[in-house]
């Protein structure tokens, strides 16, 4: 048998050509190019088998199916689950229909969302916030009552605030795939569906805490961290410890001298790179528990990096002063050229800072 390397597939996305292995999805090919070419993803999660296809945030237009059959596909397709073909031509941010539909998806995801970002732990590192900010409208057409649910404790460490859930199923796949037995699934149908542990049975599994990290919104939160701080006031560092259960490689979130939260490490697409155990996540909150490797590279969740690393970019003045006052102790020499914040013109911030031009106190 000859050892033939599989022929790479040539795909054009938003006019940019990229070569990928057969079987790669459009989304992965687009991520290879990066930037605006990569469609947003609210349910797809690369480490979780079977995820994707649900939220429809990643819909793109296939203008030509393949070199062999260059016909366009009749409907928009979910880029996260559609494999590329050689010669495929895809339109993402260059297609009007895609952008309109994406706006609609934001709207759909928000109509039953409580929009309680000001009190939500996820704010600042929330996929839904980012998605809405990048693709949504500033106003809503929804006048009806929103669905609400009671809060549930899922075991001693995790709280489920179902009202915020966007039913991406990531936590369900996580519970299915990384914990030994699933005691957690979806009950009910339609907009009454709810993430549930059967009869509130606690998820007592060494790895259950990972559902917090995979949750794109603040529906699953860390009870040891709830209401302790805002992520943009905390400073993430890569740290590790010798753990008998998991790799022990984590991100430790500091406020001053104190570790106030531990999470798994994430890649630039906000996906966990290695799941961690509950002991590392919930029990090790002392600096002495960890070997610090250095500051975590933050490339996507721009708000986290905003106030501290690029204080000079934040206008107006009072914010700069606030940031400077709070973060004088932050000594950060990392390369900031990759930070998303730089690409956003200051006008983008104007509407959300109503007091920006107030005279200084």
């Amino acid at each position: 048998m000859e050892d033939i390397k599989p022929q790479l597939h040539k795909v054009t996305i938003d006019g940019i050509e990229v070569e990928v292995e057969p079987g790669t999805t459009i989304l992965q090919a687009a991520r290879k190019i990066g930037g605006d070419v990569a469609p947003p993803a609210m349910c797809y999660y690369q480490p979780l088998k079977g995820s994707g296809g649900k939220c429809r945030a990643c819909l793109v237009r296939v203008a030509a199916g393949s070199a062999k059959d260059p016909r366009p596909m009749p409907k928009l397709v979910a880029s996260c689950i559609t494999p590329v073909q050689d010669g495929m031509v895809v339109e993402n941010s260059t297609n009007e229909q895609v952008l309109t539909t994406r706006k609609a998806i934001v709207e759909f995801l928000l109509i039953n969302h409580p929009l309680d970002c000001p009190v939500c732990d996820q704010a600042g590192e929330c996929d839904l916030q980012n998605f809405a900010f990048n693709h949504g409208m500033a106003t809503t057409r929804y006048e009806e009552e929103r669905r609400t649910f009671e809060k549930h404790d899922i075991g001693p460490y995790i709280q489920l605030h179902m009202t915020r859930c966007i039913l991406c199923y990531r936590c369900v796949y996580t519970a299915d795939q990384i914990t030994q037995k699933r005691v957690h699934g979806v009950l009910g149908r339609g907009d009454a569906s709810e993430i549930s542990t059967y009869i509130e049975k606690a998820v007592d599994n060494d790895f259950s805490g990972n559902v917090i990290d995979v949750c794109p919104v603040g529906a699953l939160t860390d009870k040891t961290y709830r209401f302790k701080n805002r992520v943009w006031f905390t400073k993430p560092v890569d740290a590790h410890r010798d753990c008998p259960t998991c790799s022990g490689k984590v991100t430790a979130w500091y406020r001053g001298e104190e570790v106030i939260r531990v999470t798994a490490r994430k890649n630039e697409w906000n996906e966990v790179t290695e799941f961690i155990c509950n002991t590392c996540r919930f029990e090790k909150k002392k600096t002495s528990d960890w070997v610090i490797e250095g500051p975590t590279k933050i490339s996507r969740s721009s708000v986290i990096s905003a106030n501290k690393y690029r204080a000079d970019l934040i206008k107006p003045d009072f914010q700069k002063k606030l940031a400077a006052a709070t973060y004088t102790d932050v000594d950060d020499e990392r390369d900031t050229s990759q930070l998303g914040i730089q690409q956003l013109p200051p006008e983008r911030f104007a509407p959300v800072l109503p007091h920006a031009n107030d005279p200084e106190p």
Binding site: K54, C55, T101, A104, F108
Partner: protein
Amino acid sequence: MGKKILLEHINVPGIETFDVYRKQGGYTAVEKAIKTMSPDGVVDEVKKAGIRGRGGAGFPMGMKWSFLAKPEGVPRYLVCNADESEPGTFKDHYLMKNIPHLLIEGMIISSYALGANKSFIYVRGELMYVIRILEKAIAEAKAAGFLGKNILGSGYDLELVVHPGGGAYICGEETALLESLEGKRGNPRNKPPFPAVKGLYQCPTVVNNVESIATAAWIVNNGGDAYAAIGIGRSSGTKLISASGHIKKPGVYEIELGVPVEEFLYSDEWCGGIRDGHHLKALVAGGSSVPILPANLITKLANGEPRLMTYESLSEGGFQTGTMLGSGGFIVFDETACIVRNTWNFSRFYHHESCGQCSPCREGTGWMEKVLHRIEYGHGSMHDIDLLVDVAKKIEGNTICPLGDAAAWPVASAIRHFRDEFEWHITHPSEATQPGAVFKGEMALV
């Protein structure tokens, strides 16, 4: 009288029993297929017959069968979709409870053609008594040697399993059905892969409607060409129509495809016309999912020719002036029906039945329902109408399964054809919310 293929013996006393069914020529098709035809020979006849799936989508059955992947050493499955839950459609129920052996015979032939040794009938869970009828029929067929090991000495084995459905409309969507059959939550799967490649337990699977499968017996007995000779063009054969609403004779009728809609509606052989003293206002021709048509577009096409009961003629004019044959749920409305209320009612159904996997359908169906409720109860405003049209448009085509489209079409079409009625609800809230109040504006009544 039109030709009867499925309901020919429906009135024979005792036809639900094996003995009577057999005496009427039942199971001869199994004998013919298994003793004289190869599996591919059966597939060829079904292809020649040109029969299109009767579950709603109208995909040619023979073509679906020939797409079935046949990898070595992997079992193949046939699954009969008997989940029938579409509002307005009740033909499969009627067929199964009255002539269960017709479905069993069709299942044996189809399974043989596809090389399946274990086949399933997924019956709507609420129809427990039908499940018992089917199980009894299976036991009788087995006792007579038409099921089980070594059928008629041919060496072909087949086991038939009747499975009660999960109690949701969405379990009728073929991939949700397969999930449900596997014991999981009935969520539709993303396609591709299609069931023909990865279906039940990840094995190649064909899913067909009750009526489609039941037709296989006649096709084997009489040949695909004979079947194709019935009907018109690509709408070959006969179709069961579930007729309901404001007509004199509601019921299940078997028609040759190609009967004019007007004849079906007014002839005494079928619906018998609109109830006395009333007029036709609107029609839903193929079950709640298809676009509603106003009276002036029902019986005639834009060019003045009569509209026929065929896949093509009903969809003539696209969604502007046409609709779809769907699953054949023929719902007739006279002038006493309030279109807004009916649209809200349909919308309520789809909101309740959305599985909730994909955002446009999960959120959009509830949104439309609430806005329609508001309009119906006198709290609507004019921009709500455009909002509904826009929400429907944003759902359509952007979902995992066709339930999203099915929820969007009734709303979009009702507003397209009856906008004045929606506006009247908004401008005359106190009148419109009186019990039984119906818009009496400039409507084309026939």
